[in-house]
């Protein structure tokens, strides 16, 4: 199984490299960066100043038929679906594609003070979380598990940074 990380509108090379390095070291799956030509201008809502999340996944499905494995899009833009104010990410449950936005994972967004380690930790948590959905996991009740739902940044920080034993068993 391979994990493909596709940066789309993502300029933070340091973060991308650290994410790839971490996934290569920690995960038993082969991790690789790929380029996906996703046209995001059509996904932008001028009214909300955000990008339509599901549109990324819809385009990625068409562009990744040749890839065997899981494809995770990493972006810096702020995401929405019409009924919700924002999303940290989206994934196909038991599917191939997922998406993580780091826009609201930046500490600057909340306190005005940057914290790179915090950003990296939050990003990895959300990546594991969305990939967990791709591997068929639903939300977990254990706050120490990365699959616990997080609807706010406080919950991203509180939850664990990896899968609990129970989720890990289901994942494998």
């Amino acid at each position: 199984m391979k994990i493909y990380i596709a940066p789309v509108k993502f300029s933070n090379k340091t973060l991308l490299n650290d994410v790839l390095l971490h996934l290569k070291q920690k995960s038993e799956y082969h991790t690789e960066e790929i380029f996906l030509d996703i046209k995001i201008s059509g996904l932008y809502s001028h009214e909300r100043k955000q990008y339509y999340s599901t549109g990324f996944i819809e385009q990625a499905i068409k562009l990744t038929e040749k890839y065997e494995g899981k494809v995770l899009i990493l972006t810096e833009v702020d995401l929405y679906v019409p009924v919700l104010t924002f999303l940290f990410g989206e994934a196909q449950l038991g599917g191939k594609h997922s998406l993580v936005s780091v826009c609201r994972l930046h500490e600057e967004f909340y306190s005005g003070q940057g914290n790179y380690n915090m950003l990296l930790e939050r990003t990895l948590k959300e990546i594991y979380h969305e990939l967990g959905h791709n591997f068929g996991l639903r939300h977990c009740n254990d706050w120490d598990c990365v699959m616990h739902s997080s609807n706010g940044i406080e919950e991203v920080d509180i939850k664990g940074n990896y899968f609990c034993n129970s989720c890990l068993k289901n994942l494998i």
């Binding site: 919700l84 989206e90 909340y110 639903r138 034993n165």
Partner: protein, 447 residues
């Protein structure tokens, strides 16, 4: 656990689909309907715990559908989704039996809490009976392992204190598993459906502490672009675990005492008084009684926290647990790293059992993790262990105090790692700030 059934009724495909995925990931059994007639057909054949209805739909409106659903199943919870303009109709809906309404777009946190709270109300009666009947079944976190008499006593104390709301003070050397014991208490309390929020008091810089603990309002200081909840607010309904309580400054001790006593506080820059219902569990590896005598720890806070004390013995005093723990960690890391190591050789196990484990369970866990990484055969051998073939270390004197042992262990870890602070902190299982504090406290210097 019961899987709740949710029906989403909305004529917009995008809304239906996003709510479908959203609730599916939450673990609910979700169905959708694009109009009221299809929804009613579904109600003819199925039962739903909760229905989410769009207010404006072609044909029958959400309000009319609400009335029909209530006729078919009065127990079904109905939540309406509405645009801002139709709020008056939503209020009308509340009068007709809807549980609540949300305006589009809705904050994910708000939607999640609303649905969870609504379903919690349904489940409370069933849960009440279930809890009474399963009172004796204790939940213990995976990592809290032990078969020794000392650990049996700890489990007994956890089961005694957990169902109460009593403040608990957990004492024990670094690495003995104080946080796991706190989690066990939380998991066996009536607060288990709410989070246990950990505050590492030793790691908090004084300047950020207030905002971290109490939260802040948007615009309360430069760069505070959004409102943020603090740890005490996040622990509402659950437990706050104050780790390394002996490390907090005198100023923060006053603040903490006030909040623990009143359960009320203000967010930084906010006027509203926030109430939070939390249970307090504190932990320390320091002798707080001495700190009180020396004037370093407030006596009133000490007595407020030291209501029920639980002392976790160091690993060297419960050697019977070492093989059990070692095998537990072996299985854990083999699963995580997908390795096929089946056991620990007799020689290696004897070595582990005789070692002094100044760093307690955490040190044993690190040792087994390292052994699984380097281990090649079907069994962990003595050469796979991080100590190599060095002679077994023993406690030099049974009269060592807790701080002596801590100082010695920290010094040894620093020396082993050439005073690399990050690496040493990782091995010790504490953050860098805490390690710097400990270095200062014990006057340790790089030779």
């Amino acid at each position: 656990m019961k899987k709740f059934k949710i029906l989403v009724v909305d004529d917009e495909r995008i809304v239906r689909e996003s709510l479908f995925h959203w609730f599916e990931e939450e673990g609910y059994d979700v169905e959708t309907a694009e109009d009221a007639l299809i929804a009613l057909k579904k109600f003819d054949v199925g039962k739903y715990d909760l229905a989410l209805l769009d207010m404006k739909m072609p044909g029958m409106s959400g309000l009319e559908l609400l009335a029909k659903i209530k006729e078919i199943d009065s127990d079904c919870i109905v939540i309406l989704i509405t645009a801002f303009a139709s709020v008056p109709s939503a209020i009308q809906a509340l009068k007709q039996g809807a549980y609540d309404y949300v305006t589009k777009p809705v904050d994910p946190d708000e939607l999640n809490h609303l649905v969870k709270n609504a379903l919690d109300q349904k489940v409370l009666k069933e849960e009440n009976y279930r809890l009474k009947s399963s009172y004796d079944e204790m939940i213990i976190p995976d990592n809290l392992v032990g078969e020794s008499e000392e650990m049996k006593k700890i489990f007994e104390l956890i089961s005694t204190v957990a169902p109460t709301d009593t403040t608990v003070m957990i004492r024990g050397e670094s690495g003995t598993g104080k946080e796991l014991v706190a989690k066990a208490i939380h998991l066996n309390s009536k607060r288990k459906y709410f989070p246990i929020v950990t505050v590492n008091c030793g790691a908090l810089a004084e300047t950020l502490l207030e905002s971290e603990l109490f939260g802040h309002e948007k615009g309360s200081f430069t760069g505070a672009h959004h409102r943020r909840k603090g740890k005490f607010e996040m622990a509402n309904g659950g437990t706050i675990f104050l780790d390394e309580i002996g490390s907090i400054s005198t100023k923060m001790q006053i603040e903490l005492l006030r909040v623990i006593e009143t359960k009320k506080f203000n967010r930084v820059g906010g006027n509203d008084v926030i109430s939070s219902d939390f249970r307090v569990i504190a932990a320390t590896n320091e002798r707080l009684e001495d700190m009180v005598k020396e004037g370093k720890f407030r006596e009133d806070l000490f007595y407020r926290l030291n209501v029920f004390t639980l002392v976790i013995p160091p690993l060297r005093e419960r050697k019977k647990d070492i093989p059990v723990l070692a095998n537990y960690f072996l299985n854990k890391f083999c699963t995580a790293m997908n390795k096929g190591i089946k056991g620990i050789s007799e020689e290696a196990m004897n070595f582990l059992s005789e070692y002094s484990w100044y760093g307690n369970v955490r040190e044993l866990e690190n040792a087994i993790e390292r052994a699984v990484v380097v281990g090649k055969g079907s069994q962990i051998q003595i050469s796979d262990l991080p100590f190599g073939n060095t002679p077994t270390e023993t406690v030099k004197s049974q009269n060592l105090s807790l701080s002596d042992i801590e100082r010695e262990y920290i010094e040894k870890t620093l020396l082993k790692n050439d005073w690399n602070i990050s690496r040493s902190a990782e091995i010790l299982g504490i953050d860098r700030v805490t390690l710097y504090n400990k270095i200062g406290k014990y006057g340790l210097k790089k030779s």
